[in-house]
Symmetry: C2
Subunit: 281 residues, 2 copies
């Protein structure tokens, strides 16, 4: 991002708004344009300092953009990128922040106007909250962003996207789209299923006894159900495999409890503790 | 707790130490005696201001106590209360902080020396951390403590225990031991199984992508495995029932995902969100 260049952010909520704030804080000579459908929300983003300019016109919004970051819901990203690409100037690079990558990257692997590149991104940062009011310039600091180029991806576009995330504080790793989807199915999508189903199963009397343990374990169940429906649909096969493998483990733990096999129970508890301790608090 | 009275805390870790700190802050005229096996840990508790006096002698420690709070691991509470009761003065009341109640309350429903009462307690507060270094005078503020008297429990002992928890900031509710165990199996023990098994299933490459979602959902997996083995053993049947019901729900969600039944998936996600939202952040 050279001084004087322009970043357009499509969808200025928690993820897009935080990216905008981080650019404005760390790269003050880069112009940030916020693009959305809802003028009230755009005004809020402007007021909160997430962007320099706002527009509801995709055409005007991306006309001068060197980098476009598409932060719309995962099920719409392919269509949005296709539409935005028509308005971009030659040399523009488009990336996204979607939680799945195979469907998106495959859907955009050809057919974009010549001179326009797409490189998939997934910042491993977020919240059960949504909306620009929760945006935070430090959201990406020391967080991992997965970038998923494919063979056809131009080297310069790949570098531009990786550099962008690094410049706003993130650690970047590259994965193939399929590798990404398998890994996040386990580390992000399965936890969401597990947490939501857990939270769905309690009654009011039990809820009165909820302490920090239940609250932590179910925190992500407060996230937007429609958004997660899309994520599950896009990564269906990997998520199904993860649920199956999880249920097998849960059943083994259950058998161990039923038969008083403390050795097996302890193996799960200790491995779980080791993995969790490895991440810190 | 009248001015000049004495509380003895057996096991001065996170739970016992926080109770001691809260008494010293809120009831400065009550003396707090910390009892334990390990002199180093007792000295740490004294230095941190969790207790007024320390001793490794159970006999000396409880000799003057009006209230004894047994904060030792759940599998040992029955034996510890029996042993401590022999050294208590007539009129002394003993309570505990164990995570299960039926086994403990049944085990202590008779055979205590006359004039010594036991009333079960379970403060719904805690942490994945253990040790007095994490103790906090405000741990019980606005937290729920379940007190589990039975028909044989003397009314005055029940009132003394309830008043004690209220005086250190907690909300107190009464449940029958069996009701308590059923409720906490769902709201505390099942989440621990779910979280530990989830955490046990990831590999290092996946862990690199872990964000706040995984961290929240698995936080309690960092707790002490041996302590939790005891809790599961003491509440085995209720925990088994909860795992079964959870696995049924998880399987229904899985079927819905496989058959693209968004209506069913949405029902789980929305109920989960409602329950979680009801508790706040």
């Amino acid at each position: 991002m050279k001084p004087g260049s322009t970043v357009a952010i499509v969808g200025v909520g928690l993820i897009g708004g935080s990216a905008g704030m981080a650019v404005r804080e760390r790269l003050p000579k880069v112009r940030v344009i916020g693009i959305g459908r809802n003028r009230n929300r755009l005004n809020k983003a402007l007021k909160l300092g997430a962007v320099d300019q706002i527009t509801t016109s995709w055409e005007q919004g991306v006309a001068d953009a060197d980098l476009v970051i598409v932060c719309t819901p995962v099920g719409q990203i392919v269509n949005h990128v296709r539409k935005l690409a028509e308005f971009c100037k030659p040399g523009a690079v488009i990336t996204d922040a979607g939680s799945t990558k195979q469907t998106i990257v495959r859907g955009l692997s050809k057919g974009l106007p010549s001179g326009i590149s797409f490189v998939g991104s997934h910042p491993m940062a977020g919240s059960d909250k949504s909306g620009v009011q929760f945006a935070d310039a430090s959201l990406y600091e020391d967080r991992t962003v997965v970038v998923t180029p494919i063979a056809a991806t131009s080297d310069s576009a790949r570098k531009i996207v990786k550099r962008f995330w690094k410049r706003i504080g993130a650690k970047v790793i590259e994965l193939k789209p399929a590798e990404h989807d398998r890994a996040v199915a386990m580390i992000s999508h399965l936890p969401h299923v597990v947490s939501s189903v857990l939270s769905s199963g309690v009654n009011d009397d039990q809820l009165k006894l909820a302490s920090t343990g239940w609250k932590d374990t179910t925190r992500i169940a407060a996230a937007d159900p429609d958004l997660w429906l899309q994520i599950f649909a896009e990564n269906k096969n990997d998520v199904l495999r993860c649920i199956d493998s999880y249920m097998k483990k849960l059943d083994k733990f259950r058998q161990a409890l039923e038969t008083d096999n403390q050795r097996i129970m302890l193996r799960y508890l200790e491995t779980g503790k080791q993995n969790r301790d490895a991440l810190g608090s």
